[in-house]
């Protein structure tokens, strides 16, 4: 299946969870937040949330700004 990840297309194995995606990206344990189709996916639901073809996923973090 294919999703949009931070605005870029990305091919993924079917039935991947948000937690597995975060882990595959090397982001486990880092201070991030995940949005799926413009809805927050709380950390407590990363394990249970399965991605679907066409999902738009945003993974964000804190950077310098004023």
């Amino acid at each position: 299946m294919q999703i949009q990840l931070n605005g870029e297309p990305r091919d993924l194995a079917p039935d991947l969870t948000v937690a597995q995606l975060v882990d595959d990206l090397g982001l486990s344990g880092r201070r991030i937040a995940v949005e799926r189709n413009e809805e927050i996916v709380p950390k407590s639901e990363h394990d249970a949330t399965r991605l679907a073809d066409g999902d738009r996923i945003e993974i964000v973090h804190a950077i310098g700004g004023g």
Binding site: R30, R31, E35, I59, V60, H61, G64, G66
Partner: protein, 264 residues
Amino acid sequence: MTDFFQDQPLRIAGHAFTSRLLVGTGKYKDFDETAEAIAASGAEVVTFAVRRTNLGQEDGPNLLDVVPPERFTLLPNTAGCYTAKDAVRTCKLARELLDGHKLVKLEVLGDDSTLYPNVVETLKAAEELIRDGFDVMVYTSDDPIVAQELERLGCCAIMPLGSLIGSGHGIQNPHNIRLIIEHANVPVLVDAGIGTASDAAMAMELGCDGVLMNSAIAHARQPVLMASAMKKAVEAGREAFLAGRMPRRQSADPSSPFAGRING
């Protein structure tokens, strides 16, 4: 503050702060300089931006290691948002990022070249965020009527620009800032436009409750030294405001007495 005078804390949405200088974390050379400048500024409230992670290069240090939420009151901003919708999404991401944190700096911008606030979208976003339980410190124009409307919606601090973001032009319309302060029942902070220490002192002498800045420190030739200068300027301006300036006079008034002069 001086040892013979104890100021009231700056109270925003249930928080109480000793420092009235709030600082951003953008435009620094590296995280070491960021940390040193923030320490020199004495700031307790620190703003940051929310952005997409750089996929494939995740090993670098994270800003939140430099300004840990346990030590600072973090103020996520919505910089770069041009619509109420994007600003609301960004605040929700920030709340998730910081485990339920409610305090945000709302800014909805009008265009790339002025970064002037789009007040229509700002009002929409403020209303939605407040309904959703956020504490909203709002960046806005120096229009006193817009400021009153934002307060009426429930914003916990009104933050008019002194001049354009990153311009360093200081406070271009002190009369409007004064009008906003006179009518406000929530803290008013000048946010944007501060160029040097005297601008920060001026904001405080006008009666602002605080000042928020980033570029004035980060783009100084010596940012850490400027951070220290800004700390003093905000304190000096605050004390001068509380002390109350002398009346202006049209003619001179000698400080030394006329009586007893040897040529009298």
